[in-house]
């Protein structure tokens, strides 16, 4: 039977053949996560995704969220799924079991999240945020804060959020004006208005814990004067019992293009002067704390994009195999029968684009999870640092680049369906609408491009970027020894060298008086880096597949491996030449974007 959400075989391929996650089980931390256990986890996640989450995707989109008397009602069906998530302990996949986590490898959790997001991203979004908020408590909380909040957050009894954005402080978090005043009892009185708060208020749980960025009286301006506070919706007494309503009022929810099942709230804190919080971490170091959570949050957004594109691709593939329309291009005679549209060249082009894009993105995201795991099991500080550097470098790609590609896949996912794709009878249009938010929150994709060029490229004097190139070159070296992959390896080698040169060029320009011009090409630089990383992942996949074929893989396996090699060939031969064009553009450093007079944009 045709699969939904994504290709089971491909998930297994990445986990077991590309990343070989069962090797992680050799280490104490992950000892129980043998191949058998991992497969069981994935099978259960798929089961939950396919049987419970996917069937309510559309109805929740229609139903949306409703604000009534300060209470937000999420789609009815989400209550049932939420209970299943709590029962199955799906909320804190990788965290310390001491606090209710599952302790699984991050790489494995990526596959779980891939299914959940593909099945129902608006629902899953709420879960992620709870986890992220919990992680802040785990990392920066006092023992008291942890005891009061953490387990309840990680097990889903309570949920969590992130309160950063204010109407005048979006990308510029440092412009926020929410204030905190210390009280005699050590708590802080919080006042402010926050917007765009995902799951800021809802009816799935009895209490919501808000990490809030605010400014202490007399704190310096900008980001260095921001502190982080833990502000529960309902006050939590020292014995863990619930106290009074804590004056966190939902004043509105956004009408949005997509993710209708996820309430995006405006919250007023301390409107009646009765909102209290406790300091999380140190005074004026709130931004630093938030940054620690940034990688996880941005990786999750990349996964949201991949969830949408995975499912959109799988649907299109199934549809293209079933939908019969028009005769074969090379058929002779008017009586030739119509064929399934997967036989038409332009449909195949779309499907192969979608396949390579989702598969390469999958490898990138799972690989980042794998790097996280390696940090945990490695005892060598240098190796830990190397993996952390790779993660830091790849995060803007995982968030900015992967979601851009995911959106394109979702758009093609509509095209394959033709007119039907535009209707709500099929899920394709929702995947596109939902996917669009991934370009925006947790730092717009433009911000990701600036992060890559401005922070990550030069990190530790460029070591992570050199490490990335070394990883790519290791795959190239392997590929050169596999019959049939030599040519692709050679092309990838050229691309890596060109990327290295381009990175050096734009990095230097960014630090020069031509910084404005450099940053006007930051997006292009994210694009070409992403393209190269995608090509690397596909070549890596092809080397694994090539070895298996050489070893005599047969039947379905052989077909799958041939598909991997075809994917690498398609991408390296039809995408990388365009990447080279983009690198030529960067290296030519045209400054028109900077030079053009503001009025010359027109429209006044």
């Amino acid at each position: 039977m045709a699969q939904v959400i994504m290709d089971k075989r491909d998930v297994e391929f990445v986990l077991h053949e590309q990343l070989e996650v069962e090797k992680l089980a050799k280490h104490e931390r992950f000892a129980e996560f043998t191949k058998k256990t991992v497969d069981l986890i994935i099978a259960e996640a798929r089961n939950l995704a396919v049987k419970e989450m996917l069937p309510v995707l559309r109805i929740a989109d229609e139903e949306g969220c409703k604000l009534e008397n300060g209470t937000v009602r999420v789609p009815e069906s989400f209550h049932r799924i939420y209970e299943l998530f709590k029962e199955g302990e799906w909320i804190s996949l990788c965290d310390d079991p001491k606090w209710g986590g599952q302790g699984m490898p991050t790489s494995v959790s990526m596959a779980v999240k891939n299914y959940f997001h593909g099945a129902n991203f608006p629902f899953t979004l709420a879960i992620l945020l709870s986890h992220g908020a919990g992680k802040l408590v785990e990392n920066f909380g006092t023992e008291k804060q942890k005891n009061l909040f953490l387990k309840k957050m990680y097990t889903g009894e309570w949920s969590g959020t992130m309160l950063l954005t204010e109407p005048q402080a979006g990308s510029d978090v440092g412009a926020l004006t929410a204030t905190a005043v210390k009280n005699a009892d050590g708590t802080y009185s919080i006042t402010g208005n926050k917007i765009f708060i995902s799951s800021g208020e809802h009816d799935l749980v009895e209490n919501i814990i808000h990490p809030v960025l605010a400014r202490l009286e007399g704190a310096p301006p900008g980001t260095s004067g921001i502190s982080l506070f833990l502000v529960p919706k309902i006050w939590v007494n020292d014995d863990g019992s619930l106290g009074e309503f804590n004056d966190v009022v939902c004043t509105g929810i956004e009408e949005k293009m997509g993710i209708h099942g996820s309430p995006t709230c405006s919250l007023t804190l301390g409107g009646k002067g009765k909102c209290r919080g406790t300091l999380l971490g140190e005074e004026n170091k709130g931004m630093r704390a938030m940054f620690v959570m940034m990688n996880e949050a941005r990786l999750d957004v990349g996964m949201q994009g991949l969830g949408c594109s995975s499912a959109s691709f799988q649907n299109s593939l199934n549809y293209a195999r079933e939908r019969v329309q028009s005769r074969h291009l090379t058929a002779s005679g008017k009586d030739a029968p119509p064929v399934p549209i997967i036989q038409h060249p332009d449909v195949r082009r779309m499907l192969l684009s979608m396949k390579t894009c989702t598969e390469a993105s999958r490898s990138i995201l799972y690989y980042i999870g794998y790097c996280e795991d390696m940090i945990h099991i490695s005892s060598d500080p240098a190796e830990k640092a190397r993996y952390q550097g790779l993660i830091d470098l790849l995060i803007p790609i995982a968030k900015g680049y992967v979601t851009d590609r995911a959106f394109e896949v979702c758009s093609m996912g509509i095209q394959v369906y033709g007119g039907y794709g535009y209707t709500k009878e099929y899920p394709q249009e929702q995947y596109l609408r939902d996917c669009k938010i991934t370009h925006i929150y947790e730092g717009t994709n433009g911000i990701q491009a600036m992060d890559l060029l401005g922070r990550k490229l030069g990190l530790n004097k460029g070591q992570p970027f050199r490490d990335l190139l070394a990883e790519i070159r290791q795959t190239i070296a392997t590929a050169k020894n596999i019959s049939g992959l030599e040519g692709l390896a050679g092309k990838m080698e050229t691309a890596a060298a060109e990327l290295e040169k381009t990175a050096a060029f734009i990095g230097k320009m960014a630090a020069s008086e031509k910084a404005m011009t450099a940053y006007s090409h930051a997006y292009a630089f994210m694009d070409v880096t992403g393209d190269a990383v995608m090509a690397w992942m596909l070549l890596w996949r092809a080397t694994v597949a090539g070895k298996k074929l050489q070893a005599g893989a047969k039947g379905k396996d052989a077909v799958f491996y041939e598909g991997q090699i075809a994917g690498a060939r398609f991408y390296i031969n039809t995408v990388l030449p365009i990447t080279r064009g983009k690198m030529d553009v960067i290296n030519a450093a045209d400054s028109t974007v900077v030079d053009i007079a503001e009025d010359a944009f027109g429209g006044k």
Copy 2:
């Protein structure tokens, strides 16, 4: 004050400075369309668009259409606008005044439509279809049919549709099964089910006239057995009075991603055996008749895309000038004030991409209208044929390529707004949702790419393509003589030569045993041809601007012209190198898309 929908100055520039449409008034047919009259028409269209159509864009999206007891109710506000359209005679802009048309140049009508689509594409869509249906009657109808229907359709008293698609016959129109049986009185009894019929049923008018594609008993299979019939919703008696309900029943309307104000209907014809029609044109020549209308319909879809992108860009530009966020990249010191986001390099990059994309697309579409006008006023058959060839060649670009770019512009239009762009508080998300349909109907963009490669490139032994290159080279020659444009002209010359070579290569491959591979690159070929045409239009604009600057243009005009030159520079320097990469891909003719085994796509 900031303009909305689009830049008035740019519209005037294309009409009066690039295309010099006032020269058309030297010819009898367009004698009354002097510059003054043209400006008056545009001003009135803008007025209607800004004051009446735009304010109800969002509310109509929310309201949508409702099917109740077989009757479709369109958004309430559309009734008022429809009356204004009838009163102002905005429905048949270019047609013979004898039948209620305005007789204006098509080039001028493009500007009018640009405003209407930018202000309210879901509403304007209904008007276009009425016009297209009328055009079929004008071109293929008998005198009796014209007298009974045409004036009422062109003046909006009745509306019209197009009934092609059936559930199993989408892109493959030839697979349709609706049938027609000749009656003794010369009418035909029609039976069939049609889907995806825009404005197939609605409450704006008392009668709807459906041109219907159906098969006569015993007709050959495929497209050569299809005839065209005129089927009114309510029978029209020979004296013009309305007779009985003609058994055309709306059985459902689609829930869609966008264009909610436009009802997309499923219609059952002759469910009770009482649906009659009259033959329009000749038996079995229905497809040929439809093809005659195809160019206009596809050009209109391109204009729908441009309407969305024009408005999205203009909104983003206005927003970027007002929204203050983050300090300037080169500001020193933490106390530097935040600046309007138009000063940030990545925002500028998006705005300049959006500007060049909408402006070049505008020039393409208006230019196609201009070619239409030249056919009308030319007395030289060779010149007429040349313009017709250019139109035929450019139509797939106008529909397929322009709408692809428009969608990208609309997506950036959300990005510029950040989180706000995703909310329904601003129109940006609707423009993206509405725009997506333009990739699908009137032949998907994949079909456009096949049309360009399979029909248009080799049309008349390639003469139109050579004519296009000649036009481009004429602009290059002009640009070479303008100080400051020599370098851009040289780059454009190289691009034109590469396009010529690529076209020859893929054209030959399409006619060879490698046709499947050629068609798997058809989309890329549409892309590169479109890129080159865009660059040509921007260079053409720059030559006009350069001459005006040389002649001493000052003040606001000079700023506008500098903007034109910057646009050409930006596009030629930052897009054409990528186009070259795409051409390299085509010329390498990778066949992986064709070669990969169907099962190797995975997911089974």
